[in-house]
Symmetry: C2
Subunit: 119 residues, 2 copies
DNA sequence: ATCCCACCTGGAGTCCACTCCAGGTCAACG
DNA sequence: CGTTGACCTGGAGTGGACTCCAGGTGGGAT
């Protein structure tokens, strides 16, 4: 089982070291292992979880909801239906965001066309 | 020329009254007319501009950049090429957001499928 | 006439998600 | 052996975008 130093995780996940520490502090990331010197050594699982966190964060999920999801994950397999439900709701949310952006984009295109017509 | 009371603008634009005042205070909204009692009376143009602001805001443009755009608009017609440039750049930004969301959404779908496979 | 409710102003407070800081430890490199 | 430099902790600070508050005015319905 390979482990990752903080610098490697920063590189791998794109989160800053401060953000990783913050996520651990608030419990979004479960207590990360330490080496003898007290330095973090992230596991493969931590990396995987951080991939999920990145996805949820980048699709606009608030930290509070990610925490709820994290708790479901920790609570064990019997929460899988709840996790599916949460992700499906979030998926709808994301679809809504995309549709909304596409619609706003049409407005922007119209505006650009209008401006061009004035030249 | 019809005018709108604050309550009507709130209704029409979906911005809160506090947000409208805030936008005026920072100059995102040009000084709105007042009636004899000092109450705001928004013009048709204000409404139109607020539509643009809503579009830009909802596509994630930071206030600082909206302010730049507002200044271009106020500076007159010779800034139209600059406005087109700004909007085109923002349009790319929005396209990027949409693509990114769509990609993240695939991740979410995979995760949901995976969870379903465990049931 | 009176009462309420929509407004007004300047300024303070809030929320979120980080980000930075001070002061300290350890391992390695030259 | 000294000095980086990567890392640690707890806690304070930041930035963006509002949101709320206190104290006050004015106009319209009853």
């Amino acid at each position: 089982m390979s482990v990752y130093t903080p610098a490697e995780v920063v590189e791998e996940t794109g989160f800053s070291l401060d953000t990783l520490r913050y996520y651990e502090k608030i419990g979004l990331l479960e207590r990360v292992d330490r080496n003898a010197a007290g330095q973090r050594r992230f596991s493969e699982e931590d990396i995987g979880w951080l991939g999920m966190v990145r996805c949820l964060r980048d699709t606009g999920m608030p930290i509070a909801q990610m925490l709820r999801f994290a708790e479901l994950v920790r609570a064990g397999d019997h929460t899988i239906p709840d996790r599916i439900k949460l992700l499906e709701e979030h998926d709808h949310q994301v679809r809504g965001q995309i549709d909304n952006l596409a619609e706003r984009q049409r407005y922007i295109h119209n505006k650009i066309s209008y401006y061009r017509s004035l030249l």
